[in-house]
Subunit: 402 residues, 2 copies
């Protein structure tokens, strides 16, 4: 019913084989679905049920979901007007069960793990993916191995550890840890559902399907999204392609991947017209969720953009990201990680550069909930006013007149 395909060399592998990358060139694989019967209705109690006709799963487990997807698509009010735009939307992925977009990929990966008979899953991550994996493994009753660098900030451990996975703080190079974990997984029968696993990508693509459904299949002109490893952006590009192939949307939106200037290997390659990126020796950004210096699906994203035909990759600075985070919270009531706010910063920059028109219909995918990153308040303390009860009335009176 489906196969696993390399986007570089076109090699195909049997669907039943547990394989994440091409044995010839090491590039990530993706699922190619033989189109079956199409359902007219899109409905169902869980993400995988809802989008089953787009997904490679035969039977879908009833009880592995925690309410993934169907996140709000919020039409911008004041920010759109400030930017002179008519149709600006925010897809708030931070309202997924563990607070980030990762849950879409995780639930699809867990389904694959169950299909292949795995009893244990794992991942190498210190952020959104780790918490997501730990939660859904707990839900599915699978053992879960989370490998993080021993240099991790202590406050990042809570949102992972709460689900009680085997949480390992490993001393050593992060790239080496990644490779070693995959080797250990293969040997011991632990499925490491990495950021660009073919099935994780299947889950991630559902955000593109949802956006188009919510807009009554009048796809937007542009989708702005953060890009780090390239797994999520691969999913969105794949989902939009499949919608177009099925004639469900008339035209594919341009997908604009956004990186932080201090960690932008994919953007650099794109701007230079290259088909493969160069690994960075170091990164420098406060956007910790999008700092991958060696993005495993970076080349696939570059390939699937077809030199600009289906979108592009750009950068914004940390200051622009932080300003956009404030704007989203203060102007729209949406608190996201700076790593998500980069999308709004990129929309502003694109308007200034003339690469998008104010009349364009634009969706920003906000990938992570601000609640997950309280560290911003260390650098930017909350503005408060201290007052005795007796002085309250006068203070409020003077503020009311501002």
């Amino acid at each position: 019913m489906a196969s696993l395909v390399c986007s570089l060399c076109g090699a195909t592998y049997p669907y039943v084989e547990h394989r994440q990358r091409c044995s010839k060139d090491g590039e990530p694989l993706h699922v190619q679905l033989d189109r079956g019967e199409e359902k007219k209705e899109i409905g169902g109690d869980s993400l995988l049920h809802r989008w089953q006709q787009f997904l490679p799963f035969g039977r879908i487990s009833d009880d592995i979901d925690l309410g993934v997807g169907n996140t709000p698509l919020v039409k911008s009010r004041r920010l759109a007007s400030r930017l002179g735009m008519a149709d600006l939307y925010f897809k708030n992925e931070g309202l997924n069960p563990t607070g980030s977009f990762k849950d879409r990929g995780t639930v699809a990966g867990i389904q694959r793990a169950l299909d292949l008979g795995f009893k244990a899953v794992g991942t190498v991550s210190s952020g959104n993916m780790a918490g997501s994996m730990a939660a859904f493994a707990a839900r599915a009753g699978l053992d879960c191995f989370i490998m993080v660098s021993s240099r991790i900030l202590p406050e990042k451990l809570g949102p992972v550890g709460i689900y009680h996975p085997y949480l390992m703080l490993v001393d050593g190079d992060y790239g080496d840890l990644y490779q070693e974990s995959l080797r250990i997984g293969e040997e011991l029968g632990i499925y490491f559902i990495v950021g660009d696993d073919p099935f994780r990508v299947e889950g991630q693509k559902t955000v593109a399907l949802e956006i188009c459904l919510e807009m009554n299949w009048q796809a937007p002109d542009f989708i702005f999204m953060p890009v780090s490893s390239g797994g999520n952006m691969s999913g969105v590009l794949k989902g939009l392609r499949e919608l177009e192939e099925r004639g469900m949307i008339a035209r594919r939106p341009q997908v604009v991947g956004v990186q932080a200037e201090g960690s932008s290997p994919i953007a650099k390659a794109f701007l230079q017209g290259k088909e493969s990126f160069e690994r960075l020796q170091s990164t420098n950004t406060i956007c910790g969720a999008i700092t991958n210096p060696n993005p495993p699906s970076g080349n696939r994203v570059l390939r699937w953009l077809e030199g600009g035909r289906y979108g592009r990759v750009m950068t914004v600075t940390d200051d622009e990201a932080l300003a956009a985070q404030r704007e989203l919270a203060e102007g729209e009531g949406i608190w996201v990680q700076p790593d998500s706010a980069v999308t709004l910063a990129a929309v502003r920059k694109s308007l200034e550069q003339g690469t998008i028109d104010p009349s364009a219909r634009v969706v920003c995918i906000l990938t992570g909930n601000g609640l997950k990153d309280p560290s911003i308040f260390k650098a930017r303390p909350v503005e408060t006013r201290q007052v005795a009860l007796e002085g309250l009335r006068d203070l409020v009176t003077s503020l009311s007149k501002e």
Copy 2:
């Protein structure tokens, strides 16, 4: 089309009047709706549109919502089986836009504020309600005044301050602050949308409507929920009554309010068969979101329970709440505040006491996202394993055999 009614003396006030409490006895008012035309379909883009036929709003603003409601109703897997139950569900209200149930009441309150022409809103709170008010006021473009005690923990300021309200740290007694804020609001035209405001209660009741809709109008036997000020529980009791009156459910579920043993004025009164509670002089619980020693809607809850006909109020200990929080995270993949986990602890206790049967269909309302309360990790550090890269394989091998 509607009026404001006192649940104690039955006095009614005009709908157009800005009034929260009865001028005769000080008890909270609620909205009494003259039933209009019923819509067959329940649908719409926002919470207030979706439930308009149950709500007292004529015109509903299109752009004040941030994706409130439609939170996941997760069927329990392992915990149900551990408890010998067949039908245990968790309604995860922590996936509302600001991470708590408060958003339902806030969006309804903001609609009321706009209807009455207010340009500023406010609240006295240091927790979920403050963040919710600040976010939705930002969304609606209203000034927002948040009064908190100057003894507030600094880490609680971020999730409120991010939306940039006027955030005031006030020295003085909390009860006095509450009364003084209402007085200032009246004088200066600031609508203080308190926890049991009649319109907030209208918003809170939608969770009961949603639960019954999601269960295909086969209402559960029991709904367990935390209770503090009594505003949310008033809403749930009111919503269920309205569903029964309209013949949409055959029988009202029993609503079980849960308090922390160290702060349980309503439970004490209920157990003693009293119609009004006694204000506590002090409280002692780690469940900070449900510690109101003087719950403004406590008596209304007692009244609406009709001595046990429609439910009851019970207590659990902090240890039971913390254990239930772990169980929910580790067994089901859902991380909530201990203040929400009290519901699961109460289900267990009720099974032990024989007040519910294992065959009962039970819904626990989980009111707040665990991400909002990382302080639990101070007392209970995350379990990790430190290892050098070279030792990783051996460690994982030994853990795999556990």
